[in-house]
Amino acid sequence: MGNDVTMTIDGMTVTVPYGTTIRAAATMAGHPVPTLCWHEHLAPANACRACVVEVEGSRTLVAACSREVEPGMVVRTTSERVQRARRVVAELLASASDASLAPSLEALCRDTGAHPENWGGATWHQPVRDDNGLYVRDYAKCILCYRCVEACGDQAQNTFAISVAGRGFHAHIDAGWDRAMPESDCVFCGNCVAVCPTGALIDRTEWTLRQNGQWDDAAITTTDTVCGYCGVGCGLTLHVLDNRIVKVTSPPDHPVTHGMLCVKGRYAYQYVQQEEAAGED
């Protein structure tokens, strides 16, 4: 077995390193496949099925995010079967969830010509869970991509505060017995928030500003800098609106963080702008 694999994507012959996924190979070949649940720093969850492609000889379609290429594999990324499956995936998700803060899902609907309104039926509409000072959970938006579970689990944070509970249509993210987050094992690192693609998990500051109609993407500046707490040297991106920090993230390509932070780096910044409320000792 050599170190390279030669295969065909949409009629093009491509040679990629052994161990490359179909998704990565398709991107290299200039035929990227859409994804919702896939995240560059998390193991593929295989859940959304937006990335399915046709592999010759395979009975069903194949998830490109996790399947590794094999020599001589013949892949089609836009066959009729593929397009139908993708459109149905988009329709099903958009018919059940609130996609208003989910750009990747909105794009999938647009690109596949989905008509979610044809379905009707049950949705995941439910009250917002507002149980801690740092982030808000609006599971009506959740597409159950597993990213938060993976980020909280062995892919990054290793806290294992949340998992999937329930089955079928009623499967949902849970911190154990439907507890509020402060009663759970959560350490409030916000890494789940960082990876959530739908706004189902959202920092409290952003949520409040959005509620009040004060969140303005165009007016927000972002600055890359370094965290001011411990000696690990995490890269930060400070999102500033009207000279106030309104959000802290970490660049996904930062070698120290891979986009992850701890509770202090992500949330403890408030002291920086408390001088207005002076008189503190």
């Binding site: 937006a50 996790s66 139908r84 459109r87 099903l92 998992s163 079928g168 009623h170």
Partner: protein, 399 residues
């Protein structure tokens, strides 16, 4: 009538007695396995063309060979007795009538691939089977080294149909949510605790014991060339004599419904409307199709059907098939693990469409069904729309 898997004259001997074990030929089977050595056993199982009886009909010898080949010193074997498919109860009948067959097959599988630990995953609603198996473990006192060298671990399912899917079953034994894993890697490459694992249906293992108790030639004497041996068929619904029947592979379907030795004729109104073959995830066969069909996957392919787990649910002409489709949809919506979008939301939408007041758009339904079949992770979502799709293909069933 053939009786191979189901005990015949031996039934007079006490169920868990050593005599009965010998009378069934399982002492010979273990001795034969030891004489052949692991490679020899795999050669015999391959030569006998045993295919999986749990639904997917994968060649058993091939599965074992791939596990035996791996360099990992730790390997596992698993008996899948989770049997939760609608209308399927053949493993229960088999285990309660002949626990020795599957157990002997399991010991042979472990020997062939080099496993020291054997796992039995038993459906939670089968407490009597569980008790029986526990008692049967006492055989290590006399069954010889192939059984004695093994450690048996018995796990009880928690009432989820999906846990019978092999990778979900692995997760369940590992203490995780029974969510299927993506394949590849297959359990034969990365199974229980990431070690190569053979997972086999109860009935498959019983077939293994038979092959070793006799020989591949004897085994192939019944059935078809591509699918030798016999198959247990669980017949339920509108027949006079519901039950589990053993037939040679390739046996005609019609006598299984009509023959006094089998179903004994259509019950209810006495007029057959259709058979759902292969369980809830199965295919509708119209009465006309039932007259011609034969019970093996090769012949059933012409109807877009397969044997699946070997369930046949029979419906007379008073039944509203549309409503049955609604029930089937409810079953899958309830049993979906919820991991992947097509199945998690698709099964819900199927219920809504099939049980709602509105006349659904068949084209839209078909697209949903095809997308579920094509894009779901596991067999559950892939086959959940099967009954519906086969209904849409058969206007004769529409009302």
């Amino acid at each position: 009538m053939v009786r191979r898997l189901l005990p015949d004259n031996e039934s007079v001997l006490p169920l868990l007695s050593e005599e009965r074990w010998r009378a069934r030929g399982y002492d010979r089977a273990l001795a034969q396995a030891a004489a052949l050595g692991p490679d020899g056993v795999i050669e015999w199982v391959t030569a006998a063309h045993i295919t999986g009886r749990g639904g997917a009909a994968f060649p058993t010898g091939k599965k074992w060979a791939s596990v035996a080949r791996t360099t990992d010193p730790i390997k596992y074997v698993v008996m899948n007795a989770d049997e939760s498919e609608l209308g399927t109860f053949k493993d229960r009948v088999l285990l309660s009538g002949d626990p020795w067959g599957p157990l002997t097959g399991l010991a042979i599988a472990a020997y062939a691939v080099g496993a020291r630990d054997a796992f039995l995953y038993v459906r939670g609603e089968y407490p009597e089977i569980e008790a029986l198996l526990k008692d049967a473990f006492g055989w290590t006192r006399w069954a010889g080294p192939l059984a004695d060298r093994l450690t048996f671990h018995l796990y009880r399912g928690g009432g989820a149909y999906i846990a019978g899917e092999e990778t979900a079953l692995i997760n369940s034994i590992e203490g995780k949510r029974p969510e299927p894993r993506v394949k590849p890697p297959f359990p034969t490459q990365r199974g229980l605790w990431d070690h190569p694992t053979v997972i086999q249906n109860v009935e498959t293992l019983a077939n293994v014991a038979l092959v070793l108790a006799h020989d591949p030639e004897w085994y192939r004497a019944v059935g078809t060339p591509s699918a030798p041996g016999t198959k247990l068929i669980a017949v339920s619904g509108h027949v006079r004599r519901p039950g589990v029947y053993e037939v040679p592979m390739g046996f005609p379907l019609w006598p299984v419904l009509m023959d006094p030795d089998y179903g004994g004729g259509i019950g209810g109104s006495g007029r057959l409307q259709a058979v759902l073959i292969g369980g809830a995830a199965g295919t509708w066969l119209t009465a006309d199709e039932c007259r011609e069909a034969r019970l093996d996957n090769e012949s059933l392919r012409a109807y877009g059907a397969s044997l699946g787990s070997g369930a046949m649910m029979v419906f007379d002409d008073t039944v509203n098939i549309w409503r049955i489709l609604g029930q089937v949809a409810r079953f899958f919506a309830h049993e979906s693990c919820g991991q992947c979008v097509p199945c998690r939301i698709g099964t819900q939408r199927l219920v809504e469409q099939l049980t709602g007041d509105r006349q659904p758009d068949y084209q839209q339904l078909r697209e949903l069904g095809e997308a579920m079949r094509d894009a779901s992770i596991c067999g559950l979502g892939q086959t959940a729309p099967q009954a519906l799709l086969s209904y849409l293909d058969r206007p004769a069933l529409w009302r």
